[in-house]
Symmetry: D2
Subunit: 318 residues, 4 copies
């Protein structure tokens, strides 16, 4: 296979990221390559060894995945073309024959720990937790005998020759993770009417009202924010940029005008793509098909009518 | 002369409006026709009997001239192509031979009265004031013997065979009146870089934050307001439209985008023209040549650069 | 009678102002004194010769009564304690025996003219209009034979020995005038739950966003504006103060906090009173009893609860 | 020693957190107890076993420490009384006798990795990185021979019997971490004039402009934001609360009014304390003593004067 048919993802095999990737129809015809880290998965795309990378960007319990946010904000530009929502429930994987009462040590990715903490306190109060590099890596360490049990996706059991002793473990209801498929810059995904647009905005240093003005660029065009996350710029404490998702597509006039407003008034803006919104429900369905409820006066037709009117005014025909 | 070379103005002869009109270079080659009222002056333009009409729109002491504001806001559309600022100082006009001590009755336009009230109280405390239809009409009534003295522009003395007994009377320092030259809709006046744009905006009925949103359409594009005046819509108490002047020209991108924003989100907008700003000083000079101090990110070049960037984003070349 | 029982009003007798004044229950036990002008009516109160003055402040067709707005904004402070809404319909008053076809000249206050213009054009297209100092004064001049007919309130007919030839004339539907009863500063009228608060706010000279900030002081506390009117400060073209009415009473916490916000951030604020709202309907009823629909979090109870919470936070008991 | 003199911190011994804790003068007279995690350190305070806990809250390179943000936002309330800024520079710790060329494996906390990535790529391009549970834990594993070198604070060398082979390693200039000292709710730290106030605000679910309104509660009172961080509420994707720091102290009127505004209009607000600002410079000094530049009209004196004026208005003495 060529690099054009290769997709990388945050590995190892058996992670939730792989499970998310396999929900994409085209995954069946792609070479799926696990990578050791988010930067590694994305760098393979930047370097041309892969066509795209699937990486987690946000978890409904743990929040933004900073490695992904920061990788997309800096370095050689990448763009997002798809998102996948995956409900997160853990299975407790053990070597065949292990009973709940046999378990003295458990492992899993540090991010998994707070999502199973209550379950663990109730069911295995005396088990000692040690973190592993990934949920799948934890499964491997269980197979090797280092730990008695690992929290991981149920789908990882087969890969590592383990058994799911308990399934559907999750402290929070509706826990889910959002993954994005990132590629090299090209035309954005086609507009569907139920889209999401991602960007990173840097604010001027010494301007206390700058964040308010950023939000007003969206608000005055009736564009709703879906997510805003501050990230340090690396230039010292108190210096932030903002990772922002808004409803709508760059091809929507209201979104385009808001983006241009940011571009004009902020020191730096990085466009990260417009792509179909995955469903917001707990079933992780992609393509909920429900567009935003637009404020009056903000449809494309309204923008076109206003531009026509402006042209008529300028010609003395209004 | 044909109607194309005819300018009407708020008469009669000898008013400040005529004096303002004569400051326009082209006045020398036009037929200047006094009309009995602002509506009459403007209706002559609407009806094609005149090319343009000069009418007062705002006085620095008395405020907006509501007849003009309302005529421009309703009825067959008109547009403003020029403005003239005229310092306002009154002369006390009397029949030859009249002394200050002879004066028992004085007259003048009702608008003149508050501008000379203090002077009158100090110099002619016992004189009885009666309003006349215009300052010039007051002069006529003095000539006819109905009153002893009239407040009017010094320039009206000759027209009515009177003498200026006292000149340069004005309670307020820097009193001046702004006049506008209105014509039928056509291309706006050329952009000079120091322009003013006038419009009338109707707000939705039942929306408490609507005025705030109107102002934000300007603010978010860095367009400064110069004047805002509420006027009743005639649909009952509490229903208003807003007569607004902002800095800049409809051909300025920031102004154009703000106007389109209003057009999209307000029930009705009437564009009244973009035209060179007359000086704000007390000398009534036209064309102060000083453009607004633009907020960073709001020049035409900034708008063009942002549009280029948006296009590149849409093409995957950002 | 003493000055304490004397009310002045904008005269002469037979004006709409007198009719409005007579709708107040206490008018029956007061000496009602017509004055020649709004300033005269208010100065009598300032000087202690009268307890209060009723003057028009706003007409639903003609807009704000600038003489009243400016008198309340400047000079010795006055406060508003009541408002009266009066529907405005004109009668055509003639000397007994006059027929419509006899009428060659008509008169009335300049403010009446635009309100009957259409009727006049349709019914008496050839009649010549001349303005008089007041509608009642026009009636007097008809009785004296100077004009054939006067537009005035039907109630003025008896006073001037005239007959109402046509009644209920008004071009605009729902035309009404709002009058205010002004007295010397004292405690505001009691809160009714359906109140109006009036103030005048001066903005800093050179601050383009100042009007937006003024509105935000109201908006952030959920206080709706009912009226905003710019008035020149008299310091030169382009310098304005704002006459503002908002819903609510100074004793309402949200209103009080908004007023303090303005006081802190604007160069000058003049409080003109809180008083019961008269009905907005065409029947001129006072006391519609309908308070504003409050935004969540802006009732007095919400303010008290928040203050309690703040105190607990400061004490470490939150 | 009693629990009143016991401070917990994010352990183990030799972490940057311990180094930060030792910058506090009172640390000399307290029992300092390392804990295995941020939740454990804070729970000891909640449970009464310790008086306070020092935990990292924000790193100028890595951003907010989500474990700390989430622990402070939920569960039994805690409050912040102090902050400490510590410049972050790593030393490469090795067993005595190890040379740079001997190093095949390196370890450190996952958070350290991006802060030394460039250095590692340049100096030890072939060394394999494996994460450890903490920097200090990595040092321990080096002593035990599992890895060849660990990135940690230079101060950890002695604790673990290692040698600092290279010091002052940090990819980013001015890297520093902010730590907070959290205790059970009590009166906030005394106002110094250069303070910081922390809170967590939940927004209403379905209100697109809610974040804008949150910011306006601060802006309209002239309170500058210093940090804003969105965190998932755990109620599903797209539901966030905001961890916010603003300049000023709860005892400052402008801050108090902003907090009350949030309390009134947001579903939930948790006050996390007001405390002296540590310096923002790279030297990690505490108490920079520089208060915020206040917007005109927002000092306590301005608030008091406005409250006096309001009282006078309500008494008719304005």
């Amino acid at each position: 296979m060529t690099s054009a048919s290769r997709y990388t993802y945050l590995g190892p095999e058996g992670t939730f990221t792989e499970a998310a990737l396999r929900t994409l129809p085209e995954a069946a015809t792609r070479e799926l390559v696990p990578m050791v880290s988010v930067p590694a998965a994305l760098d393979a795309v930047r370097g041309g060894e892969a066509a795209a990378a699937l990486v987690p960007i946000e978890n409904s319990v743990e929040g933004g995945v900073t490695a992904t946010l920061d990788e997309l904000a800096t370095g050689k530009p990448l763009m997002i073309y798809r998102e996948v929502l995956l409900p997160i429930a853990f299975a407790l994987l053990v070597r065949p024959g292990t009973a709940l009462t046999d378990i003295k040590t458990v492992t899993g990715h540090p991010v998994a720990q707070p999502q199973v903490r209550n379950w663990l306190a109730a069911q295995l109060p005396h088990a000692v937790w040690e973190s592993s590099a990934s949920n799948a890596d934890g499964a491997r360490l269980v197979r090797e005998g280092r730990y008695d049990a690992a929290f991981a996706g149920e789908f990882a059991a087969a890969t590592y020759g383990l058994q799911p002793l308990v399934t559907d473990i999750h402290d929070a209801r509706n826990a889910e993770t959002r993954f994005v498929l990132a590629g090299r810059p090209a035309r954005p995904a086609a507009r569907t009417g139920a889209d999401r647009t991602s960007l990173v905005v840097w604010l001027g240093d010494d301007h206390p009202g700058a964040l308010l003005e950023l939000l007003q660029e969206f608000a005055v065009r009736g564009v709703n924010l879906m997510r805003i996350e501050s990230r340090p710029t690396g230039e010292g404490m108190g210096r932030y940029c903002f990772s922002v998702d808004c409803e709508g597509h760059i091809a929507d006039r209201r979104v385009g005008e808001a983006l241009m407003g940011l571009k004009r008034t902020c020191p730096k803006v990085r466009f990260l793509g417009s792509y179909p919104r995955a469903g917001d429900g707990p079933d992780g369905r992609t393509g909920d098909g429900v567009g935003p409820l637009l404020r009056p006066g903000t449809t494309d037709a309204d923008f076109v009518a206003a531009a026509d009117w402006l042209a008529r005014c300028q010609d003395g025909r209004a």
